[in-house]
Each structure stands twice: as structure tokens, then as C-alpha cells.
């Protein structure tokens, strides 16, 4: 307090803040598993529903790709709705606003958490899908290709899910309005992911996913990642 004049405000580096927030999220989910088991269970139940709704015991190719993506997308919607609930109800967002950290740290931490959740759910759901429904099974090379598509799609889903989860949590409609907003926005992801996955799951000799679909997925991730980074501040400004 010896210095005259205002000192530059001291802020925690964003990386430290993100790491702390990530630790908090993962610790919370480990102590009280809530979102992950729900998402995983939902995926498995949806596979069973598809088995009877399509009235088929096995799927392959485009149908398999569709079943997988619809299931994962709806499970993701389930998770996105819960992403900010604890913070909103327990005052976590207010605490973050009081802390001298960049607000986008919350976006980055939540998006990484969401990608991790989706990946963990897929680690359970995809093998279950292969065992229950997929006709030809997957080779090791196919698993790698599928993982690449899953990762690229997960980033896009996580960015949109985080942005609109933060938006929906402040509304009265909440869980009602989130899928209505997020699903149309995620249609391009579904198009690209389903197109890229279909040859991998095909019964007639698996093929590599088309490069342009992966390129558009990357473009989507990039555009909405930057956009979310730019506008996320305004969702917290209270």
C-alpha cells in the first residue's frame, strides 16, 4: 500500500484457474457420481429401445451410424442440462465472478469437463453398442477411426452444450429449452459424424471416413469454439 496510484489488478493466470475448476468438477463427479452414470445408463437403454423400435437384432453401416449418433447426442443433451446446475444452485458462478480470474476460464473448464464426460460415456456406450447391436464388429483400425470421429464430434457437442447450458440455466424453461436450441445447432455435427462413421461400421469391408467430413467437423469446432470464447463473458455478466 506504499505505492501511490492504482496498482494493476492481480489476477490468477487463466491456466491455473482452469486447472482448479477442472479439479473441482472431476472431484465433484467422483464423490457424488450423478451425470456420468445417468448418461451411460441412458445410452444403454436407448440401444435397447432402438432394438425394438427398429425391430431388428443387428444393425450395420448407415443405420448403425445413425443409432449410435442419435443415442450419443441425446445422452449429451442430458449431460449439458446438468452441467451448470450445481454451480447455479450452490453459488459457484457467483464465487467465480468474485474471484480475480478470467471468466472464460469457466467456459474452458466446463467444455473440457464435458469432453471428458462424453469420452467416458463413449468408453462404456460404444462397446455395449458393438456387443448388442453392431453386426460385423469392429477391427482395431476401425476403433482408431471411430475414436477420431468421436473426438472431433465431442468437441463440437461440448462447445455448444456448454454455451447453451450456461444460457439455459438462467431461464425458467431450462431443460425444456436447451435441446430445442442445441439440437438444430448440432445438426451439422450429426451430418458430418454420421457420414464419417457409416463406412467404418459397414459390413462390407470397412472404409476410412471421408476426409472432407472430418475437415468440416474441425471447421465447426473451430468456429463455434472461437465464438463461444467471444460471447461467453456476456452470459455471466451479473
Amino acid at each position: 500500500m506504499t505505492a501511490a496510484g492504482p496498482r494493476p489488478p492481480r489476477t490468477t493466470p487463466t491456466r491455473t484457474a482452469v486447472a482448479a475448476l477442472l479439479r473441482k468438477e472431476l472431484l465433484l463427479e467422483r464423490r457424488v457420481p450423478q451425470v456420468l452414470p445417468a448418461m451411460a445408463l441412458f445410452s444403454v437403454v436407448t440401444f435397447v429401445v432402438f432394438r425394438f423400435a427398429l425391430d431388428t437384432t443387428s444393425v450395420e453401416g448407415r443405420t448403425a451410424s445413425g443409432v449410435l449418433w442419435v443415442t450419443l447426442l441425446f445422452a449429451a443433451m442430458l449431460g449439458a442440462g446438468r452441467l451448470f446446475v450445481a454451480d447455479h444452485e450452490e453459488g459457484g458462478i457467483d464465487a467465480l465472478l468474485l474471484a480475480p480470474v478470467d471468466r472464460t476460464a469457466l467456459l474452458i473448464a466446463k467444455a473440457i469437463t464435458f469432453v471428458a464426460f462424453l469420452a467416458l460415456v463413449e468408453v462404456v456406450a460404444v462397446p455395449v453398442f458393438v456387443v448388442l447391436l453392431l453386426e460385423p464388429g469392429l477391427s482395431i483400425a476401425d476403433v482408431g477411426r471411430l475414436a477420431l470421429v468421436l473426438l472431433l464430434a465431442d468437441i463440437g457437442i461440448a462447445v455448444i452444450g456448454t454455451l447453451f447450458g450456461a444460457l439455459a440455466i438462467q431461464t425458467r424453461a431450462r431443460d425444456l429449452i436447451l435441446p430445442l436450441m442445441a439440437l438444430p445447432l448440432l445438426v451439422p455435427v450429426v451430418i458430418m459424424a454420421a457420414k464419417a462413421t457409416a463406412p467404418v461400421l459397414a459390413v462390407t469391408g470397412s472404409g476410412a471416413p471421408g476426409g472432407r467430413y472430418l475437415a468440416v467437423l474441425c471447421l465447426y469446432d473451430l468456429v463455434f469454439g472461437l465464438l463461444a470464447y467471444a460471447v461467453f463473458d456476456f452470459l455471466l455478466d451479473d
Binding site: L167, A173, P188, Y220, L227, V231, D238
Partner: protein, 248 residues
């Protein structure tokens, strides 16, 4: 006090649109492939272009609102999206009629432009419910602006994505690479219709904004009157509209 400008605008709209449709009906040649039903193109395409432009314009105004926090931009963003959704219904209906006569189906899934438009339209259908479900007016404007910006960015990206997924069968009427595949006597009514539709959009937006402004002023005056009469303010009725509130 606002009506003078509005009257000119409305008059220009009526003249341009009527002129365009008269030209389209009598001057433009009948298309060899599709016959008379192709005429709906002079309504459908300008409407779609204006609606998509309106969505993007709503996003730009949303961005301006986030930067300046000027309620004027929020109002413009709201009105632009509102009008574009209404035009969007028109686009889907006229598109369905055209598809029915040209391809024999009401909706063609292999048609990228149509599918993209449907997705964008469905997305913007949640704009009003979103505004309705946020009570605090300032927060409502801010969140609606974030939505408008995100959705405005989504419009072009979505068109790229859907087009990549499909071989297109939609007629490419304004193919830029060949410098316009449209013959001149079709071009004139088309561009005139486009201008007319844009004018219609602007006029309707102006009318809606004027209405909102006037209502805001009337409310302000009513409140002042009540204060002057010393009456207790009646319990505020819940808002009937999710439109931005203008305080006078």
C-alpha cells in the same frame, strides 16, 4: 409523428412488389421445363434470401447490442428475427408448393437448400420462447443477443455442412461462377421482387418498432398520469409479449 416516413416506405413497397409480380406474370417468359408453376420462384427465392439476410442482420444487431448495450440494437435484433421467422413460414410453404409441382413431393430431403433452411428455421423458432423464459429485461436482451450472434454465425456454416452431405438437385438460379444462369427477361422481375421483398421487410420492421416505441411511450405516460392522480400503482400485469421493453 412517425407516419410520414412509414407512408413513403409502404408506398414504395407496394409499387415495387406489385410491379415485380406484374412483370413476373406477364413479361417474364414461361419456363420450358416446369411451365407456369415456376412463377412461384419470384416469391419464394426473394423471400428466402430476405429471411436469411434478416437472420444474419439480427445477429449483427445482437453483436452491436453486446458491444454498446444500446436497447435500440436489441430492438432491431428482435424485430429482424421476428420478421424473418414469419417470412420463413412463407418460404417453407411456397417451397413446398414448388417442390410439389416440380418434383412431385411436398418436401425433398435430398435437397440441401431446403433442408438447411428448415434447420435454421427450427433453430430460430426457439428465439421467442427463450426471451419469454427470462424475466429480467436486461438479462433477456443480453441472452437473446448471445443467441442471435451464435445463430447468425450458424446460418452460413449450416448451409456448407448440409450441401456437403448431399448431391443437390435444387435449381441454382443465381450461379455466380457462370455470371448468372438467368436470362435477362427473368432477371429484371426477379431483382425487382428481391428489392420489393427487402422493402417489405424494412417496412414491416419499421411498423413493428414504431408500434413498440409508441406503446412504451403510452405506458410511460400512463404511469406518470397515475402518479399525478396519486393513485396507487396496480400490481404489474405479466408481460404479454417477450419483445424488448422501451421505457420513455
Amino acid at each position: 409523428m412517425y407516419s410520414a416516413k412509414l407512408r413513403t416506405l409502404a408506398l414504395a413497397t407496394v409499387i415495387t412488389l406489385t410491379g415485380a409480380f406484374v412483370l413476373a406474370a406477364y413479361y417474364a417468359p414461361i419456363e420450358a421445363d416446369q411451365g407456369f408453376s415456376q412463377k412461384i420462384f419470384y416469391v419464394h427465392v426473394p423471400m428466402a434470401i430476405v429471411a436469411l439476410g434478416g437472420f444474419v442482420w439480427g445477429g449483427i444487431q445482437g453483436l452491436l447490442y453486446l458491444r454498446t448495450r444500446d436497447p435500440k440494437h436489441d430492438m432491431r435484433s428482435y424485430v429482424a428475427i421476428h420478421m424473418s421467422v414469419i417470412l420463413g413460414i412463407g418460404v417453407l410453404v411456397t417451397g413446398g408448393i414448388w417442390a410439389r409441382s416440380a418434383w412431385g413431393v411436398w418436401f425433398e430431403w435430398r435437397e440441401a437448400t431446403l433442408v438447411s433452411f428448415l434447420i435454421v428455421f427450427l433453430l430460430y423458432c426457439t428465439y421467442q420462447p427463450l426471451r419469454f423464459s427470462i424475466t429480467d429485461p436486461e438479462k433477456q436482451s443480453r441472452y437473446a443477443a448471445v443467441f442471435a450472434v451464435t445463430a447468425g454465425t450458424f446460418v452460413p456454416l449450416n448451409f456448407i455442412a448440409v450441401r456437403l452431405a448431399n448431391p443437390f438437385i435444387h435449381p441454382r438460379v443465381l450461379n455466380n461462377t457462370t455470371g448468372g444462369a438467368l436470362p435477362t427477361d427473368m432477371k429484371i422481375p426477379f431483382y425487382l421482387a428481391l428489392i420489393g421483398m427487402t422493402l417489405l421487410f424494412v417496412t414491416l420492421s419499421r411498423v413493428e418498432m414504431t408500434h413498440k416505441l409508441t406503446r412504451g411511450r403510452v405506458r410511460g405516460l400512463e404511469r406518470r398520469l397515475e402518479r399525478l392522480q396519486g393513485e396507487s400503482d396496480p400490481a404489474g400485469l405479466p408481460a404479454r409479449s417477450a419483445a424488448p421493453q422501451v421505457m420513455a
